[in-house]
Each structure stands twice: as C-alpha cells, then as structure tokens.
C-alpha cells in the first residue's frame, strides 16, 4: 500500500474486479487467487480456459492458475524485483514502452532506466531461476498488449522488500501506460473482508480516516474541531513495534478488537513474551481465541451477521452489512462497547445506530463523503465518491494520476533477509488454504471446511522428501531459528525442490512460531514468504 501511495498517490486497487475482463493480458504475481480470493479465482479460471485471455503467472509454487497460464514463471521466493526489472529491460530494449504516456504522466524515468539496464534476461535468470527466454516472452506478452492488468497479493508484499516489490510493479505499469484505462492497472487483492475499510477508517498509526496524515497540522486541526479534543501529532506504533515496546516495558496496555495476533503475527515466542508483560490486555472478540489466554478482560462482541454497518471490499466498494439475527447472550456491537468505555473515561460517544456513525465518518473522510446508507441499499459504491450525486469510481487515475505525475522508482534487487544455509536448508513460505480462513476461529467450526482440510500440513516436493526418507503423511518436525512445530507432510510437485509451504490457520501447529526474521523497513510487513527452516523426521 505504501508502495502504491508513493508512486501513484493512492494505495488501493486501481481498477475493478469486473474490469479485469477487459484486459488482453493478465500478469498475476504473488497471488494464489484460486485459494485466497476464490470467486475472483473462478473468474480468472474462466477467462483463461474459455475466453483465451493470456496469463503470465509468476509464483514459486505451481498454483492452479499456473497450469492454465500462457506462461508460468517459477521464480525463487523473494526474487520478484529481479524478474520485473528483467521484463522492463526487455521492454525498453525492444521499444515496447509507451513514450507518450511516460512523457506526459510520469517523472523519474531516466534514473529508473539506468538501474534497469543491467538486468539482462541472462542476469535475471541467474537470480530468479526463470529461463532467460521466458523472461523475454513475459516482457513481450505484457509489453505488446494493448491493455494489460497486474494482479498481486501477499506474495509480493510479505517480504522485507515488499514496498520495493510494489514500486517495481508500479514501474512496469507506468512504463507501458497501463494506468487509468479499462483492463489495465495495478491491483492489490486485499486478504480480508474489510482490510480496505479498516485502512480507510484510519486503523493505521500514521493516518486519520481517509489517509489524512496525523503529522499534517491542518488535517489534525480538522479532526480536533470535529472531535472536540486536541490530538497527538506523532506517528504511532505498528503491530510489530507494539510487541517490541511491550517487551521493553514502554507499552503497558493493549486493546485488541477482533484480532488474534497469537496465531496471525510473526515470531510468536516474542509476541507471547510481550503479551504476558502487559498490565492490561483487553480482547474483544466473538470467540475465546488463543490471544484471550493472555487477556485480563474478554468482551463478547456481535459477529457480522448480527450487525448493521458497512464493509469495503478490495476494489474500494463500500457495501451494506445488515443485521440478520440477534447476537448470543450478552454479546454487543463492537462500536457500542468502545463507546461505553469512552463514556466512562469522560468522553461522550452517543451513537444510536451504525448509520449515525457512518453519517459522522463521511463528514471527515473525503472519499466517503457522497455515500449514504440509502445509496447503498441496492448495491455498493466504489470510493472516491466525493458528493451525493457522484456515481463512484470504478477506475482510479483516469486522465491524470492521483499523485500528479506517476513516479518511477529505481529499484535494485536485494536478496531476502533470511537465506537458507546448511543447517536451515529449506525456504518456507506461508499462506492460506482454500478451505480455511486466517486463524481458523471461524472456518474450523464449519463441517465442510474441516472435512477437506482437517489438520495442519506441510507441502513438500517428493524428491526432497525422498532424500530425507520422508513419506506422504509422515509427521515431521519443522525448525527455524525462532521455534519448532510438528506438521503432517503432504507431498506435491507444486512446490519446487528446496521449498516448503504451510498455512497459519491452526492453533495446534502455529507456523508463526517459526516466522518473523525481519520486516519491510517502510510498511513493517513481516517476511512471511521467506523463512529458512529445517525439516527432520522425529
């Protein structure tokens, strides 16, 4: 997100889910769409199988869409920048770039060009493991298409250089003028139903609702007037920094609403130490999740089906959530609980309904200003929607890039922070399974989901397993420099030799005990996609 905000001026998906059909070529990188965004995955599958859309799929694992792709690039984990630079090298060499667009709508092209020069397909092959001829072909497919769309997900962002990975993709889109038009763009898929909304609403340490910087005095004054208090001007702590601050005693209290960091966060031993040092841990959730074990207070909240409100999906579409049933027992709306704590601390929050809150938030969030519950009655509206007669915005940057000029960023490839060595010789990647969701608190209570994937597993290449004397279904110990867990082995050629894959859904085998060597320095995203591990037969 930080990468797109810096280069284009907006951190969200530039185009829409429906608009992807307009593309001639789709470059899918670091997104196992079939399993993580299944309904979009079905559409992509349809486009590839029946409508002759050309797909370039870059992923270390031979995911399902790779099998339908025009070109599959099995890159080594963490070498995305080299690949993208290589493609751009070829595009420039062949003159497939959009000179007019570059001149009129971008800046920083010359410095960028110099960096790309040395990324010849041969050099890139040596880094990524992808044959030079395939890099040439990928460049040709993307570079010569009239309309090409880039779709990416956590495979791009969950690296120590996640921000640079995103900026590289922005370079590629800018180079070919694939911005601000149907069937083009650069489209990050948001992993959870309301990640987009939680970001939009200022659930971030540096921004108020609507990405308005807390450090900007004028904007801060606006919020001070709206909320009737003086507000802090220093940027706050990110999730991972909160853990560090708790360990060294600077942080005394943590209020967790609807999250389960004890499964989802990296380097869990460190996090558990942090949580146990807190003077106050409040967990507000629908279930007694693993994080509750460290809590002093647990507050029961209503789930989505028991709430009125709005969610904002990955394509910036604000949609109505409607109350279908009553919450169990004494469970309450999250906003009600927070308002009651606020009132007891001397700040009145007298909201009578979710709609009243929405009416307030749209007065301070410019992107949402024109949206009302009434307008959302039939279907959602895509922000920015500045006025009540504005139809919403399916495609960003039309005619003019939000930032003014699209910014080319010269980016050099750097290896992932943790490299495999003799002791920890495998690279482990983590992600989700189609049948489960995040920390499993919801899907593991569902019969159909558990029927297909009842237990944690480790995907491993059969040849690697053969060398280690491991068979399908064996329980193995997986160790990293930070911890160890036991997992059942699932042999599959879809992971390459030297690589393994697991999911973070399962509290009985918490894969994040192993992860968390390091973080992206800008957006603090953990490097979930590259952890050096050892696999041993116990």
């Amino acid at each position: 997100m930080a990468g797109l905000a810096a280069t284009l001026g907006s951190g969200a998906m530039t185009n829409s889910l429906g608009d992807i059909e307009e593309a001639e070529v789709i470059f899918l990188v670091g997104s196992n769409t079939t399993e993580n965004h299944p309904v979009l995955g079905m559409k992509l599958r349809r486009l590839a199988r029946y409508e002759g859309k050309k797909f370039i799929v870059a992923d270390p694992r031979k995911i399902e869409l790779a099998e339908l792709a025009t070109l599959y690039l099995p890159i080594r984990p963490g070498t995305d920048i080299a690949l993208i630079n290589g493609m751009m090298h070829v595009i420039l060499r062949e003159g497939w770039h959009d000179q007019e667009f570059i001149q009129e709508q971008t800046e920083g092209f010359e410095e960028f060009r110099k960096v790309v020069e040395k990324y010849t397909p041969e050099y890139v092959e040596s880094i990524t493991g992808v044959p030079a001829s395939d890099i040439e072909q990928a460049a040709k497919l993307y570079g010569t298409a009239q309309r090409a769309s880039i779709i990416y997900c956590m495979g791009i962002t969950q690296h120590t250089k996640g921000t640079d990975n995103v900026k590289s993709l922005a370079n590629l889109a800018l180079l070919c003028g694939n911005i601000g038009k149907p069937g083009t763009g650069i489209n990050p898929l948001r992993g959870q139903n309301n990640v987009q909304g939680a970001c939009d609403m200022g659930g971030l340490p540096a921004t108020f609702p609507g990405y308005q910087a807390v450090t900007n005095e004028e904007l801060r004054k606006k919020f001070e007037r709206a909320w009737g208090v003086s507000l802090p001007s220093n940027v706050g702590l990110t999730v991972v920094e909160m853990g560090d601050a708790a360990v060294d005693g600077r942080l005394k209290a943590l209020y967790v609403m609807g999250e389960n960091p004890v499964l989802s966060d990296p380097n869990l031993h460190h996090l558990e130490e942090a949580l146990s040092k807190l003077e106050l841990l409040v967990v507000q959730d629908i279930f007694f999740n693993d994080t509750c074990k460290y809590a002093h207070v647990v507050l029961p909240s209503a789930c989505f089906a028991e709430k009125d409100g709005t969610f904002t999906n990955t394509e910036r579409r604000v949609q109505r959530v409607r109350k279908a049933l009553d919450p169990p027992g004494d469970a309450k709306d999250d906003w009600w609980i927070i308002s009651e704590v606020a009132r007891r601390m001397g700040y009145e929050m007298n909201y009578g309904s979710a709609e009243e809150i929405f009416e307030e938030l749209r007065t301070v969030t410019p992107q949402y200003a024109g949206i009302t519950y009434q307008r959302l009655e039939k279907q959602g509206i895509q922000w920015p929607c500045p006025t009540e007669d504005h139809p919403g915005t399916p495609i960003l940057h039309v005619g003019k890039i939000a930032r003014g000029k699209g910014l080319f960023t010269p980016i050099e490839y750097r290896p992932a922070a943790e490299q495999p060595d003799e002791e920890y010789s495998f690279v482990m990647m983590t992600g989700r399974s189609y049948y489960h969701y995040h920390t499993g608190t919801m899907t593991r209570k569902c019969v159909v989901c558990n029927y297909f994937v009842p237990e944690p597993y480790l995907e491993m290449n059969p040849e690697d397993a053969g060398e280690l004397g491991i068979e399908d279904g064996n329980i193995v110990k997986v160790l990293s420099r930070r911890g160890e867990i036991e997992l059942k082995v699932k042999l599959t050629p879809r992971v390459k030799r030297g690589e393994v894959f697991s999911t973070f859904h399962f509290s009985e085998a918490r894969v994040n005990l192993l992860t968390g060597a390091s973080f992206d320095p800008i957006c603090k995203i953990p490097e979930f996609k590259v952890t050096a591990v050892r696999v041993v037969k116990p």
């Binding site: 029946y50 898929l189 971030l204 960091p261 507050l299 027992g329 999250d334 601390m345 899907t443 159909v448």
Partner: protein
C-alpha cells in the same frame, strides 16, 4: 431487425434468442432448464414457441431471432406440448414434496401447479408418490444428492463446466437410467454453484440441521465475512439461526457466485462456543461478570495507565473483520480519548 411476438412488433438485435426478446419485454414463456449465466442447455423442451413458416415448434432459449420472424408464445397446442413435457418429468420424479427441502421454492412444483396437473396425478396417471431411493454420496458433504428427484435439466452440469470451470458433473448413461454423476469429484471445490441452480430438490443443502420453509424464513442481504472480494450474499434465517446461504445473481461484485466458505462456512455464527458474557480475570481465573463491571474495570485501568505512564503506553488493534463503523469508532477512541496514534490492525498479515 423487427420481430412480431403475439401480434406485437419489437425492435431486436442480431444474436438475441426468442427467449431474450420475450423476457426483455415481459412476455412469459415457461422455462425449466434455462439459466442465464451459461449457454442455452435446451434439455427440457418447455420453452417451445410457434414460428410462422416452421412446421414444428422451436425452443425459444436456443433459437436466434431473424428479421421479420412471427412468433406465437401461447396457444392450446403449445400448452398441450408443455403439459406433456411436465408429465414426462413426473413419470420419474417423486411427489415427496412435504419432506423435500425445495418445497415452496421448487420450479417443478410451480410449473405443475401452473399447468393444472392435479387431475392426472389424482388418477395415478402420472407421478410417483414417494422417494424411490435414499440420497447418494456426492462430491462434497455440503450437499445431499437425491438422484430420483433429478429432472435431468443439466443446469448443474453446465454451470460447473462453463461458469466455475471445473467440470465435475456428467450425465451418465442414457434414457431411463440417465442420471447426474459427480464423476470428476476430485475437481470439486464445494462452491455449491450446482446446489444454487438446481431447480428441484435433487441437490439440497446439507449443513444446517434446522430446516424452514421459505415463508418461515427471513432473508437478509449482507456481505460475506471472509476474503477481500466482498461477495454479497443472503443469510436465510429461521428462529435466530442461519439455515442457508443464497445469492442474488444481479448484484456485483460476485453476481451470484460464492466459494465454499461463503456458501457453507456459516456454522460459526450459531456456534455454542460463541462468547456470551464479559469475562474478567480474578485471582488468575476468568469469571463471568456484568457489562457494568467489565466496562468499569477497563475504563478505570486505562485511565490510570494513561495518567501514570502516558497515552503512548497504550495501544490498540483495530480489525479487518469489523465494520467501517466499528473501526472508525475504535481509532477515534484511541486518538481522541486515549490520546495516542498507537492504532494498527492486521492489514499486513
């Protein structure tokens, strides 16, 4: 291009079928197998219409309009042809409607009623009174499959192949023995698209133990709680429990499609494990307490930490699973009441 339907003229475009034109102009032609999101199936023969100059009726779903075409959608002989189609279906379809999941929202039930087949059924000339065969194994435990209720419309076969792109289902055998079979069960992703398009009770939802007829249910349109696609779905609720998930084909972004989690992943809502009371740790153990006590404790503790260690000694995690309204109030609370920007959520995880 102009066509005439039942004496009225309509402007039409190349590539439209007779059924497309009729539907666009509110002219009723009964259908059973027709499904907008896939190519015309043409298996039921119910949508027959008369076209001037043609000796036999043609299927409206798969006949493209031509300039000057004169079409009749209703006549005594068409009624008779359609009635025979229904009677043929009833030769193998059990009339176990009282125990069938689909009763009240069954396309076949509607049609049989509409065509007044009561007398023929009462005379035992058509219709099998009861289910002949128990449900058989299907490609997912989310769905119960009753082959004897199947009318071989093939909507499921087509939607799985053309729309989901999986091709799990085939029509096995021919004639009286023909039935739908999940031959390529390994390809199944339990998306339940087949269930959603089944016009009868051959494929029924197998998750909720609680059942309710359509008029006993409340249907509430909301948004799926799982991934970022944000599919719009409908919770079917009876006695404060979710009994089923349905979808409206016309609403973006998913236009009627769901995955296994959206379609079958709703049991957590009514799980016995849901938190029902505030819990406060007393002498190391959690105890159920009143909201008053829990909220007072949280507010007092936060206030004292704030005054002793400062606002920045407190942090909060907002949530990618809560609503915009919840998140707005949460960050406002952290910033305006606690006085810190220490607010983040799991966007990066």
């Amino acid at each position: 291009m102009v066509v005439t339907i039942n004496g009225r003229q309509f402007e039409v475009e190349q590539g439209q079928t007779i059924l497309d034109v009729a539907r666009a102009n509110d002219i009723y032609i009964p259908t059973l197998c027709y499904l907008e999101k896939v190519s015309p199936i043409g298996s039921c023969g119910l949508c027959v219409v008369e076209v001037e100059g043609q000796s036999e009726p043609v299927q409206a779903c798969s006949t493209y309009v031509e300039d000057g075409m004169v079409i009749i959608t209703d006549s005594p002989s068409l009624f008779e042809t359609r009635r025979k189609v229904l009677e043929r279906i009833l030769e193998r379809h059990p009339l176990d409607c009282p125990v069938c999941d689909k009763a009240g929202e069954c396309r076949l039930q509607d049609l049989v009623y509409e065509f007044g087949l009561e007398g023929r059924i009462a005379d035992h000339r058509v219709g099998i009174p009861r289910l002949q065969e128990p449900p058989v194994t299907y490609s997912t435990p989310g769905i119960k499959y009753y082959p004897s209720r199947c009318v071989l419309c093939q909507r499921c076969v087509h939607v799985c192949m053309e729309h989901v792109g999986r091709g799990v289902l085939v029509v096995n055998e021919e004639g009286d023995k023909a039935r739908i079979e999940p031959l390529y069960a390994d390809n199944c992703i339990s998306c339940g698209e087949c269930l959603a398009v089944c016009p009868v009770g051959a494929l029924t939802e197998n998750v909720s133990p609680l059942k309710a007829r359509p008029w006993q249910k409340k249907v509430v349109r909301t948004v799926c709680p799982y991934c970022g696609v944000g599919c719009v779905l409908e919770l079917n609720v009876a006695r404060n429990k979710v009994v089923k998930v349905t979808v409206d084909d016309t609403i973006p972004p998913n236009h009627g499609t769901l995955c296994v989690k959206g379609r079958f992943g709703f049991e957590f809502i009514n799980s016995e494990e849901r938190l029902k009371k505030p819990l406060l740790r007393k002498n190391g153990e959690f105890q159920e307490v009143s909201w008053e006590e829990a909220l007072d404790f949280v507010a007092d503790k936060l206030s004292s930490i704030k005054s002793e260690a400062g606002s920045d000694a407190i942090a909060g995690l907002a949530s990618a699973k809560c609503t915009n309204e919840d998140n707005y109030v949460f960050q406002k609370f952290m910033r305006a009441v606690i006085g810190t920007n220490n607010v983040d959520h799991c966007a990066r995880l």
